[in-house]
Structure formats: C-alpha cells, structure tokens
Amino acid sequence: MNYEIIVVGGGHAGCEAANAASKLGFKTALITANIKNIADMPCNPSIGGTAKGIIVREIDALGGLMGKVADKSHFQIKMLNNAKGPAVRSLRAQADKITYPNNMLKELQSIENLDIIEAMVEDIIVKDKQIKGVILENKQEIACQALILTTGTYLKGTILVGDTKTPGGPHGEKRSNFLSDALKREGFTIQRLKTGTPQRIKKDSIDFSQMQEELGSPEPLTFNHDFPACYIPSEQEKCYLLYTNEKTHEIIRQNLSKSSMYGGYVEGVGPRYCPSIEDKIVRFSDKERHQLFLEPESKYYDDWYLQGFSTSMPYDIQEQMVHSLKGLENAVITKYAYAIEYDAIDPLQIKASLETKLVANLFTAGQINGTSGYEEAAAQGLMAGINAANKLRNKEPLILKRNEAYIGVLIDDLVTKGTKEPYRMLTSRAEFRLILRHDNADLRLRKYGYEQGLITQEQYQKLLNKEQKIAELKEFLQNNKLKITPEVEEAFKSQNLSVSNMSLSLEQLVKRPGITIVFLQQFFSINYPKDIIEQVEISIKYDGYIQKTYKEVDKLLKLESKQIPKDIDYSKVKNLASEARQKLQQVRPETIAQATRISGVNPSDISILSIYLKKEYNKNE
C-alpha cells in the first residue's frame, strides 16, 4: 500500500490536513485509531472564542473546513467583545458534540482522493533523514512521500484522577505507546504536557432556576464566508452562569493533598490560562467566588459541561464539590473531571512550514507541537496539509506573516519561542491585531487560498467583487457632502448629533463619534450590504490607529528583510550572552526580526548580531 501523503490522527488538525492535502490533488490517507473519534471534541463543547474565533475565520478564508462545519453544527453562537472595538471581536459557537464530528466525517468521506483507514500507527520509516512511510501496530508498512503527524494527546497519554493514573486517551481508548519513542530515536526532544477537562452533569439533575441565563447573539452569524446562517437566532439553546461559594472553597482546601496537581502526582506542565479550580483557589485566595458556566454538549444526549471546574481531585471529593454549588445540590455527575498528560515534541525543532528540521517531508500539527485548542490544531493541520503538498509539488511553502494572520502569529511563536505549556492563542499575542480582525479574514487571506488551490474561482470572484464594492463606497464617501435640509437636521437632532461643519465630505463626517454609514445612507440613494459598510466604516473611523499599525508593520518587514545567513556560526559572534548564543543556535532564526522575538535574546544581543552580520557579510556594500 502506498500514498503520497499520510496523515496520522483524526482530530481537528488531522481533518484539516487530510482535507487540504487531498483537495490539492494528492493521494492521501487519514489513519486514525477509531473512526468514531474523527473530529472528536473531548473537552469543551465550543468552537471559537476570543482570538480562536478569528482563527476559524482564517481557516475558512484559506479553504479549510472548520468554520463551514461549525456553522452547520451548533445550537448557539455569540459575538464576544461586541462592546469593545472591532479588532477584538470574535465568534464562539456551542457546537454539538455529535453533529460536528458527523458533519466533518461527511465532508472528508466526500473527498475522492482521501482514504480513511482505521489503524494504530506505531513507528515511522526514515531513510537518509527523509520520511518514507509508517508502520502499523500489526507491523504492516504503508509507504508515503510526506507524513503529517497530528496525534493530539494520544502519545503516551495518561489520564489522572486524584492519585490514580490510567494509560489511555480521553475516552479511555488505547494510547500510542511507541510513536514518541520513534520520534526520540530520530533526535526529537520530547516534553510532557498536561491539560484537563471538567465534569459533565446530567441535565435532569440541574436546577437551572438558580442560575443566570447566557444567550446567543440575536443576529444571524457565521464563521464561513460563503453560505448564509442556517439557524434561527431566536431558537438558540441557552447556557448558564453559576458561581462557586465558600463551602466549595472549603472542601477544596481541605482535600488539596488528594489532588494530582497538589499531591505531586503530575509531571506534565499545565496551561496557566486554564487553571484547575484548586489552582484558582490556592492562587487567588482572596476571591470569594469564581464563575462557572454550564453548557449543553449535544442534542442527542443529556450531558452538560461544567466549564471552569476542571480538577484532578478523586471522585468522592468531586461529588462533594459539585454538590456544594447552587443549583447542583442534587446533580448527577455523568463524567468526572480528569487531567491528561501526553508527549509532545519541542516546536523549536520544526520550521515555519511545519516540516520538522530533523526529518525531511515529516510535518507535525496540533497538540504534538505543544498547542492547546481545537482551533489552534485545525489551523496547523491546514498549513501542514498545504505545505506537505507544496513540498511534493516543489512549490515554496505558504508561510503567513505575523501581520497577515493569527495563524502566522501562532506558528511563528511556536517555532521561534517554543512553548513549555500548552500554547493557546490570545489576542494579546498578536501585536498587529487591529488589522487581524474577524471581519477582514477573507480580505487578508482568500487570495492565498486561491493561489494554493483550495479556494474556487467562484469564491475568489466573490472576493474581488467585495473589494470593488468597498473601493466604490469609499470613493462615494470621499466625493460627496450632505446638504442640510430640514429632514437631515431632524434626523441628526433625533440622534443627538451636531449639524455643525457639514461642509465636510461624508468620509470626514463618519469619523465623528455616533455617525454611521447606515445613518448617512438614508439621505442618498445608495444601499450597500452590511459587510461592505462594516469594512469601510472601520477603515474610516479607526484610520489613525490602523495607519499606526501599518507603520509598525513596516518596521517589522524591514527587520524581516534582514536575512541571517543559513550558515552563520554563532560561536564566532563575539560577546553574545551565553543564553542568547544557545537560543540562537537552537532556533536558527531566518531573519533579524525573528531573532528579536526569541526569549532570552536581548536587544544588546541583537545589536551585536547586527554588527557582526554587517561586518562579516556586507563587506562589499
């Protein structure tokens, strides 16, 4: 048996990788230990969230599946940060844990070039530092030209509850025992990471009347750029907000020694942004209460996800903890909270294309690279799929820059800074977030999707039309003024808006607080669609800040253009701090800009490096 590209693992990274590789024309196999777990959501029942929602938009803009599938599979969707600026708005959908994987599987099964194989991969075949294939548990060999590993938490996965450790995946499935050893054999540094998930509660046992309702947004919203919303906003399911109390905290404090974390049973490093409840109570002991959310997992079964209550306490303590919560006094726990430890590689050992530095044509994506989250995984899967294809068709890899996409920030962070805890995307990681918005993902990235071959001519034409309309509306606003008539005055007054200085162009008027294009449209015979108006209005109202960001982008691109020769010998650069020298040696940044982002490399090291490069490499300039 042989394939051009093999993807190992059927999670969110694997699905996108398999989709991209096969749609780009390569004979692809997706090997998963269990077809039932394709696109499984073992943790929270949601897709998106701050920053993550923008990643899903980017995946869609590039031609990936996650956005499209999520739109068909949720029972609530919400625009987060709606009250804040447009740059930090982000979608989050409560996805149905049955529907989403089903819809994803359907998508994958409809792809001609793609085979889905149910098997456990235990080893990789490497010859002359190049990937040649995989070996299954039954010793069968499957040859390939490129391999994408998206193994999630299954590499030596261990489930932890209290002081008990059970080898296995999130649902108690078989784990991969030998693959991480194979990677170690090839020279990879393996690190142990940890993540956790909270309890699931039986719906009938919850007294929702004690909790506060959390509703979806009232207007129809979608991740994808091509199809309208296929749900009725008023019929969305509710989520609920509840709080911990002093009794909960007391139970936790008294039983701290029984928690795997505090009892010292855990070796993996957990994420700071997703602390267990015992962690929250120890670290923020002055807080009287912590928020928790109850979210439905599916329409097809009765489990509700208790977000914010993740813990590694033993079952009996978990019972006490849950029952101390208001509305959950009689709750039935259908699944206890657990922590999971797993092997990951050091992402400093992969390139920005997600190909590993050690083995040619071997790509890695998702949790194996040290990230956390469905969206982060999917984004890497998509890029690994595209770039494995590019490798085989002798094309340059697609590497998104930090000023182009959150996906660019994600991958650059991983391969430049590495990570010691599961990496989650945050808007604060993106220094250019004002231009990396939810609303402009297609304007930023569709052209790349089209160039790569994942976006159709029809989709691309739609983008071009949109760009044209945006330009048209901008021009209209620049070239027109508002005549003051009694109706205009009346309309302004009713909105509490001043009618002074009306000789300005409409563009100038839009800069004023409170004046929107929709409001001005009524005085002219124009009627642009919402997405066009949104783009133009943001570009006018926040022009000053967007220009500032572009200036910063220019600075970055200037540093980004300062290439560091691939053959540089850092031991010859005198006076570098030893930590900086070691880090530079390890990361081998391609540009000065990338070097500035390596932690442990200080500004003075960068000056020394720049001076060295000038002296050694630009002698003739």
Binding site: G85, V88, Q291, T427, S428, S604
Partner: protein, 451 residues
C-alpha cells in the same frame, strides 16, 4: 572586536597628567613593548607600576601604568592606563608609539561601546559615562554617577512596570471577556491611571530641567548703559571667586566672560559686549545683540547707576527685562543717590557697590534663592540628562495626551493599547530595553573620544 584600541582619555593640554588608555587582548603586551620597568605581562591585575616609556633607547616620559586584566574592567577586556605628564607632545608621542606597535585608534565612544556590548553597562549608563567626562561641577558629576549606578534605570523600569500591568489588565479583559476576576478597564478607569503616569513622567521631565542647570549651569547676562559699572561688578565677582576669566565657549554657544560656582552650580556670565558698543559704530547690531542676550539668558542682571538720574535708555531696558527672570542691581551706592525708581519694583532691587562686599554678597544670595540652588546638593540626583532621553519622555507624554483626547472620542480601549504599548516602548528605549536598529551606532558616534 578582537583588536586592541587606544586613545588619549583626558582633555589634551588641560590637566597636569594625561591618561592614555588601551583596551583589548593585546593591551598589556603592546604597552610592555614600549615600557621599561617591571615586566607588565607578569604583574598582578589591578596594580599601578612605575616606569618609563621609551622610543628605541630614548626616554619619552616617566609614567605610572595601571594594569587591569579581564574581565573585571570597564570594557571587560584587558585594560591598561598610562598616566603620563600632561604635555601635548609627549602624550601624542606615546599614542603614536602604541599605534605603531599594533593598537588601533579608538573610534569616538568605542570604549563605552565595548562596555555596553560586552554587557558591562546598560544604555543609560553608557550615556552617563560621557556625561561624567564632560562634568565640570561636583553636582553634575554626582548626577552622572547616579545614572551610572542605575538609579534612573530603576525609576524608568518601575514606571514601565506600572504601564505593563495596566496593559496586562486590558489584555485580560479582551481575552477573557466573560470572566469577572479582573477589573474591567473602562474609559473611566483608564483616565485617572493615565493621568497618574503622565504626572510621573512630567515630574521626571521637570527635574530634568534642573538637571540641565546642574550640567550646564545658569547663564546670567549683566546688562546696562555704559559706565554704570558692569565690568567692575563682573570683575569683582570673578576675581573674588578665583574663577576662570579666560573666554571659554559656553553651552549656549555665547561667549562666556567667566564662571563662578555658587552652591555647587556653575554661574556663567554672558558677554554683553554688544551693548557696550552701541554708542560706537554699529548701533543696530549692538541693540540686536543685547536683545538676543537677554532672550537666551536664564537670568538678567540690570545695572543702574545710583549717582545718575533714570534715563530713557534705562527705562527701555527695564521694560525689556520684565518678562525674564531678573535682578536690578543699583550700583555705586557709596555715592550720593540721585536715582528714583518706581515703588512696584522695590522688591527686585539690590543695592551695593564694587568696593564693599555686602551688595555683591546680597546679589549672590539672591541668585542662590531665585534658583533654589541649595536644594540641588541635597536632592537625589536621578534626572534624565540628555536630549535623547528627554525627547523620548516628551514623546511618551505626547502619546498620553493623544490617548486622553481619543478617550473623549469614544475610541475603544483595545485601540488605545496601540498607544499605551508605544509609550512603554519609548520608555524602554531610554534604558535600552527596546531594540532600535539605528540607535546604537548613532549613540556611540556622539561620545567623546577615549571613554
């Protein structure tokens, strides 16, 4: 950075002793080649050695040579300092001998640059080194030394920390919008916080104006009609203080008649020759010059003659100095009084003559009080002290001004983070914590040769 550099690190011809400094791996060996005394390659580190510099068999100078081995030296390299007699000829000769024996002449600021690049000092400290070299009074020296020990760096770091935690809080609001654990930074919360940060920056800036006084002194113009006794007042002031009476270039690019030190601060008397010449040939030029002098001076002393009536020219000068810090000195009070002055300027007047010390002492006291000079020697001198640092703080303040304006325009907080981050970066530039590509080379090219 493997070569050995050398330079004369004292001002040529000024002191009785000149120092020629070397830094680099060959510093000791090269010196040893032209030195007779103990074998310098064998002496202990941080020792001073007596001997002679020779050219072939000819003695050039009698010298003390300090040998300091890496890494505990200013540049962290081997450093040698040759203390020789201060004549221009012999100092230059020693430099020349070092150059012919394998040293390279240091570029301006190269010793400090090496210290910085070798991680010995941070940027602000590097700048302080150049200040110490140029310091002329005890106060300015201690200001520079304070910077060298990192006091200012610490203050800026604290301020950056404050801005950083504000930014972190905003980021938490954005990334975890549904969590109540962090305070929501709304416009109303942001306003007082920014005001506070701005106040602290303004304080640093205000104090840096003081730092200008410490480093450069106070420029005083003595003006008045001819023959009211300006020159004799000046001479009495200068002679009594045994001050430098040669014409030396002042920092304001004016010709300074001479300087005295009052309460540790340099008082520079600016030449007002222009006014003296007004009655001669070039009347217009003279008037212009006097106006310009009044304009530039930190303090104007108008001298009037007690023995004469107030003339229209006096009246004119009285009007001109109104907007400036000024003192009216009524001279020749040992003679009979025919001068009448209006009551409202009574407090601005000091009376005296150049024969008895009392009046001039009152004048000096008035200057000390007017600029609160006593306070300088008591304060912790931790101010920003050069144009680069001051302009960075000014830019940071300007950014906060802009943010405050945008707050009124209802610009969302997440946009304002762009400015707040920028402010943080600017402060980082002061202490070299933010990487600026061209900064380093530009900075070091401005340093004086030698250090």
């Amino acid at each position: 950075m493997e070569d050995t550099i050398c330079a004369i690190s004292t001002s040529l011809g000024v002191g009785a002793i000149s120092i020629v400094r070397l830094s680099g791996p060959e510093a000791i060996a090269i010196t040893n080649k032209i030195y007779k005394g103990k074998d310098l390659t064998k002496v202990e580190s941080h020792t001073i050695n007596y001997g002679h510099i020779y050219e072939n068999d000819k003695i050039i100078d009698e010298v003390l040579v300090s040998v300091m081995r890496a890494p505990k030296t200013f540049t962290t390299e081997d450093v040698v300092e040759i203390n020789c007699h201060g004549g221009i000829a012999s100092t230059n000769k020693i430099l020349e001998l070092l150059l012919t024996n394998g040293c390279r002449l240091a570029e301006p600021g190269e010793f400090t640059k090496r210290a910085f690049l070798n991680g010995r000092i941070d940027l602000i400290e590097a700048e302080a080194v150049s200040d110490i070299i140029n310091a002329q009074t005890e106060n300015s020296r201690s200001l520079a030394i304070n910077q060298l020990t990192g006091e200012l760096s610490r203050i800026i770091q604290n301020l950056r920390q404050e801005i950083l935690s504000l930014m972190a809080n905003i980021e938490v609001n954005i990334d975890f919008p549904e969590y109540e654990d962090a305070e929501e930074i709304t416009h109303n919360v942001l306003k007082p916080k920014l005001k506070d940060i701005k106040a602290k920056l303004l304080e640093i800036l205000n104090e840096s104006n003081n730092s200008k006084i410490i480093k450069e002194g106070i420029d005083v113009a003595i003006i008045g009609r001819p023959n009211v006794g300006k020159s004799s007042i000046l001479n009495s002031l200068l002679e009594e203080n045994k001050a430098i009476v040669t014409n030396i270039a002042g920092t304001t690019r004016d010709i300074v008649e001479g300087s005295i030190i009052l309460a540790g601060i340099k008082i520079n008397f600016i030449d007002t020759a222009g006014i003296r010449k007004t009655e001669d040939l070039v009347e217009k030029i003279g008037v212009d010059k006097s106006l310009a002098t009044i304009d530039k001076a930190d303090l104007v002393i108008l001298v009037l003659n007690n023995n004469e009536k107030l003339l229209p020219e006096d009246q004119e000068l009285l009007t001109k100095i109104k907007k400036k810090k000024h003192i009216i000195f009524v001279n020749k009070c040992d003679l009979s009084s025919t001068l009448t002055l209006s009551e409202d300027i009574k407090n601005e007047i000091i009376r005296g003559n150049t024969i008895e010390p009392n009046g001039l002492n009152d004048l000096k006291k008035a200057i000390v009080e007017m600029f609160n000079l006593e306070s300088f020697s008591q304060k912790d001198l931790t101010y920003l002290s050069n144009a680069r640092q001051i302009s960075l703080v000014k830019r940071a303040i300007k950014i906060i001004d802009e943010v405050e304006e945008q707050l009124n325009n209802e610009v969302p907080v997440d946009f304002l983070t762009v400015d707040i981050k920028n402010c943080w970066d600017l402060l980082g530039e002061i202490i070299g914590a933010t990487y600026k590509d061209e900064l380093i080379d530009e900075l070091f090219s401005k340093f004086c040769l030698g250090k």
